[in-house]
């Protein structure tokens, strides 16, 4: 324990309980810090403690729950704990992936917030030694007519595009939902996947006492200071005042960093590496030391900078982008330096690994390498135990309270329900309305702003199937991977356990519907304030539901991220535990799209027909203007059988198309198959209840498939073998008509509504 207080530095403020509170550290947490240190922390130390103990870095409210998620399986190469997780894809290669939120920054500054979200997740992947080859994103915006929605959508999409397009990683898929609960707190969740050899993965470990620590990449500025703290607090209608906490992205710099890092990794001169993400230099140093059980000593005078008169506090808390911290093997730092020179990147030896278990930073008060001012005479500015900042950081099992039934599930007026249940309710106009709604319509306006084909690997493009399919070049092998990202916050709001399980089920089903076997999952758990017991209850229940679904469907969680305090002025978002599932195709020829192909093909319904429950559905939500009713039930065992069955059908090559039934129900799914194939169809709607319910109920575990007449018997055999119900719907028909029972819909008219759906927001 160091009782000697660090030297004063320029700009230091008095450290006390009030400053701690300003930094988001509670009075009781401040007491913990005082007690552990045996003295008052310095200003820089207080900054370090506050960001490391922030919800964003410490997972203090979520850790006890996250520990219950299944994280193992034969396919898992690396579970949670590193910068990203990894799954085996054969021949010694693995897919490395993770998803992360950039919600708060994107709400404050949509373009930069979203762009740096992409940059951050890409660094998480390539810091593992993997070349990123695909991105996805999951976005949530407020109601379409909210005054900020247009600007936020345009800014976020352009920001994601700018970053991904420039660095050259294709954005191959994603999802978007609009709901008034996101009016004051949008969600931007970014996913990235890379490929590495299993025995060439790199880890964020400061291994080897005496090894030099190098700083590589962009110079440090004052952007993003306290970004992690900002991301760990609710907005109070004051988001615009937090602009200085948002980082600024430079995708060209990151492209240089990516290529340089991959060459440095290949040279074999590194002992460990970590990107400087949230909490920048501080978290990368501390986490690397913690994982290796070592200490780290940094010379802050040596930190490359772009701004004059930076203080230790500012250098330690800056979240300037496109920076990496590397630990080189002793004596091999020159190899790192030479490669950085090749790629015109800033590089400096800034410290060394120690055996003290402490995070020590030295700096000279008043010294500035940019101006040459000051004589270099470094003194200790920070001296903190690593474990106090990591394992011994505060951890909470926060109180939970189940919301009253009325808060979760109010029944709409019986007259409204009866109107939708009436046999006179018109189907065709409802279908045009739903398929042209902002939550169901085409996302082409968005994905056309993303380069989704760079790197010559995109097999199934956005909008063509239920999941993206890409090929990964693995030495002389080619691997075909599928991926999807999903969550319906309405379901989670109505029933967090079932809703979260349904998110996992739908995501894995999407991957299965293109013919791939789901392998593993990454998550991004977006919730409101965990100090509100009802929110904490939803969080805990959602984790339980996810965990169960992951176990039954055999998609272990290999990485993830938690984003709490997603609320403004006490109004929380819909609980949104977003999940992304990665799967693998056995063979490219197995891949399926959603498009109906040839007139005369049989159209079939795989799975149990609807039971007619409408809770959380797009139809009811749009009609009643609020969440209402009871969720359809999810049978995980039936879901698992369904997913195995669709993969078996794909591998038997007896199908022409497959498309899962989700938002908007069976009628919307059929219309989407027709639109994609530019053909008509004729179908009877199976299931229980009035015809609008059979058309638009959103029961999970259902897939619309088509096959030629000659294959129908084989399809039936395979469905039987897996114990999955199969019912005939009808057939693909030439022309423009989609016949649903006695109603007829124009495919061209539906296609127009679908194509122009986002005009309501961005036109």
């Amino acid at each position: 324990m160091s009782l000697r207080a660090p030297a004063a530095m320029p700009g230091d403020r008095a450290v006390n309980e009030a400053l701690a509170a300003e930094f988001g550290v509670s009075a009781s947490e401040y007491e913990v810090a005082l007690k552990a240190l045996g003295r008052t922390p310095s200003y820089a130390e207080m900054g370090v403690i506050s960001v490391m103990w922030s919800e964003h870095c410490s997972y203090k409210s979520s850790r006890v729950h996250l520990a219950t998620l299944p994280t193992t399986g034969a396919q898992v190469v690396l579970g949670p704990g590193e910068n990203a997780g990894a799954v085996d894809i054969g021949d010694g290669y693995c897919a490395v992936f993770k998803m992360e939120s950039h919600n708060h920054p994107s709400f404050i500054s949509p373009h930069q917030g979203a762009a740096t979200g992409v940059g951050g997740i890409l660094r998480d992947v390539f810091t593992m030694g993997a070349r990123p080859i695909a991105s996805l994103n999951s976005l949530r915006f407020g109601r379409p007519d909210h005054p900020r929605t247009k600007e936020l959508v345009e800014g976020v999409v352009a920001g994601i595009g700018d970053y991904g397009n420039c660095i050259g990683v294709p954005t191959v898929g994603g999802e978007v939902q609009f709901d008034a609960s996101y009016d004051g707190n949008i969600l931007v969740n970014a996913f990235a996947l890379g490929i590495a050899k299993q025995d060439e993965l790199f880890f964020g470990r400061a291994e080897g006492v005496g090894n030099p620590v190098l700083y590589v990449g962009a110079r440090t500025g004052r952007d993003g200071i306290h970004g992690a703290t900002m991301a760990s607090a609710s907005f109070e209608d004051d988001a615009e005042t937090k602009l200085p906490t948002v980082q600024v992205g430079d995708p060209f710099m990151e492209k240089l960093l990516l290529e340089c890092c991959l060459e440095i990794f290949a040279s074999g001169c590194l002992a460990g590496v970590q990107d400087m993400g949230a909490a920048g230099l501080t978290s990368s140093s501390v986490e690397m030391a913690a994982r290796a059980g070592t200490g780290l000593e940094l010379d802050l005078d040596a930190i490359p900078r772009r701004t004059e008169a930076l203080t230790p506090y500012e250098m330690l808390l800056s979240e300037s982008q496109e920076r990496m911290l590397m630990v080189a093997k002793a004596g091999r730092e020159n190899e790192v330096i030479e490669l950085c020179q090749k790629w015109d990147l800033e590089v400096a030896v800034v410290g060394r690994v120690t055996d003290t278990g402490r995070f020590v930073c030295k700096a000279t008060a008043g010294f500035d390498p940019l101006t040459g001012e000051g004589e270099r005479a470094p003194t200790v500015a920070v001296d903190l135990p690593v474990d106090l900042l990591t394992d011994a950081a505060p951890k909470y099992d926060r109180p939970q309270r189940a919301p009253g039934v009325e808060m979760r599930s109010t029944l709409p007026s019986s007259a409204g329900v009866a109107a939708l249940a009436s046999p006179d309710a018109a189907l065709a106009p409802t279908l045009y309305e739903l398929i042209g709604s902002v939550n169901i319509g085409s996302r082409a306006w968005i994905y056309r702003q993303y380069d989704h084909i760079v790197r010559d690997g995109t097999i199934v493009r956005p909008g063509q199937g239920d999941a993206a399919v890409i090929r990964a070049f693995c030495g002389e092998h080619r691997k075909y991977l599928a991926m999807s990202v999903d969550c319906n916050g309405r379901y989670v709001q109505l029933d967090p356990y079932a809703g979260a399980a349904m998110a996992v089920a739908e995501c894995a089903r999407n991957v299965a519907c293109v013919g791939a076997t789901p392998l593993a999952l990454t998550d991004c758990l977006n919730f409101g304030n965990p100090e509100v017991p009802e929110t904490m209850w939803r969080f805990a229940k959602a984790i339980e539901g996810m965990a169960e679904a992951c176990r039954v469907l055999n998609v272990p969680v290999v990485s993830g991220n938690v984003s709490l305090y997603n609320e403004t002025a006490g109004r929380p978002i819909l609980p949104t535990p977003t999940v992304a599932v990665v799967g693998q195709l056995h063979d490219l020829e197995d891949h399926l799209s959603m498009a109906f192909a040839d007139p005369g093909d049989r159209v079939l319904h795989l799975g149990h027909p609807t039971q007619g429950r409408m809770g959380g559905s797009e139809l009811w939500t749009s009609r009643f203007g609020r969440l209402a009713g009871e969720l359809p039930s999810l049978d995980l065992q039936a879901e698992a059988a369904l997913q195995r069955c669709i993969v078996a059908l794909a591998r038997a090559r007896v199908l022409k198309s497959a498309h899962d039934v989700s938002d908007g129900g069976l009628a919307v799914a059929l219309a989407e198959c027709c639109i994609a194939g530019q053909v008509g169809a004729s179908a009877t709607l199976p299931g229980e209840g009035p015809h609008l319910h059979r058309a638009f109920a959103e029961d999970p575990s259902r897939i619309v498939i088509s096959c030629d007449a000659a294959s129908a018997a084989r399809v039936e055999e395979i469905a039987d073998e897996y114990g999955v119900p199969l019912s005939p719907l009808g057939e693909v028909v030439a022309g423009d008509a989609l016949k649903l029972d006695d109603d007829s819909v124009s495919v061209a008219k539906a296609a127009h509504a679908h194509r122009t759906a986002l005009d309501a927001v961005v036109a």
Partner: protein, 257 residues
């Protein structure tokens, strides 16, 4: 069809620090066409890759030096440029794709300029182009042949003065024009019209998608033939029309003494 490898054809892919379709070009030249291909790094002062003079140089897509100023503007000052220009002036085959097209105009190896798309957004989708001009990358491709190729750019709106346009037209140097699936050119449209309704994805003058230099051996185009040269890309509804350009280059090389 002649095989590139039979002639031992060498393809150099220029690698600026921000090139990002360099892999796409290398992959097609090497793995799809079976030739010998390598990267020519931007800091090198030669493009021979330590061997023979290449038969084909590809300037790939991407963001050469970040392109924050103007696409290709900094690339003009790149160390590799003198060797590239020397190669081009001596009659070497040069294919500038997307950012490569932008770089070729900045180097004045091709006339005109590529400016921000009319609708001001990045645009990634398949478009149709009609082959028109006579040159190395359309050798043996019938005039009027319609190809489906992907575009992915924010700055693809070709612009030039009237005299240049007359010259390009008069000398048969417009290699490709955006068209509909039947080969019909679209009439000028209002820039605010929904971009997916337009055959011309960026508002280029005279629907120009690609042009040749005066010798017909340097081609710049915005669409990406190297991302559409394999049957498996783009799924069951994908296109591999891009291979026409590479096969044409190969025919040209066969005829080159």
């Amino acid at each position: 069809m002649p095989k590139l490898i039979a002639r031992g054809v060498r393809t150099a892919v220029i690698q600026f620090p921000g090139s990002n379709a360099d892999w796409d070009a290398l992959h097609v030249a090497r793995d799809v066409l079976g030739g010998d291909a390598y990267y020519a790094f931007h800091k090198a002062t030669e493009i021979n890759g330590g061997g023979a003079i290449p038969d084909l140089v590809v300037i790939p897509g991407g963001f050469s030096y970040g392109d924050y100023l103007r696409p290709g503007a900094i690339a003009r000052f790149s160390p590799v440029v003198p060797a590239l220009v020397d190669y081009a002036k001596k009659g070497g085959l040069v294919l500038g794709i997307c950012n490569g097209f932008q770089v070729l105009t900045e180097l004045a190896l091709l006339p005109g300029a590529l400016t921000r798309n009319a609708h001001l957004r990045f645009e990634c989708r398949d478009v149709f182009v009609r082959a028109e001009g006579r040159g190395a990358f359309t050798e043996g491709v019938d005039e009027g042949t319609v190809l489906r190729l992907p575009v992915a750019h924010a700055d693809g709106r070709y612009q030039c003065d009237d005299e240049t346009l007359r010259r390009l037209d008069g000398e048969g140097r417009v290699a490709f024009r955006y068209c509909d699936g039947e080969g019909q050119l679209s009439t000028p449209s209002h820039p605010d019209a929904p971009s997916d309704a337009l055959a011309n994805p960026n508002g280029s003058v005279a629907n120009i998608a690609g042009i040749y230099d005066a010798t017909g051996r340097i081609l710049g185009l915005m669409p990406h033939p190297e991302r559409a040269s394999e049957p498996e890309l783009g799924g069951r509804s994908g296109t591999h029309d891009g291979k026409h350009l590479f096969n044409a280059a190969l025919r040209t090389l066969e005829q080159t003494p």
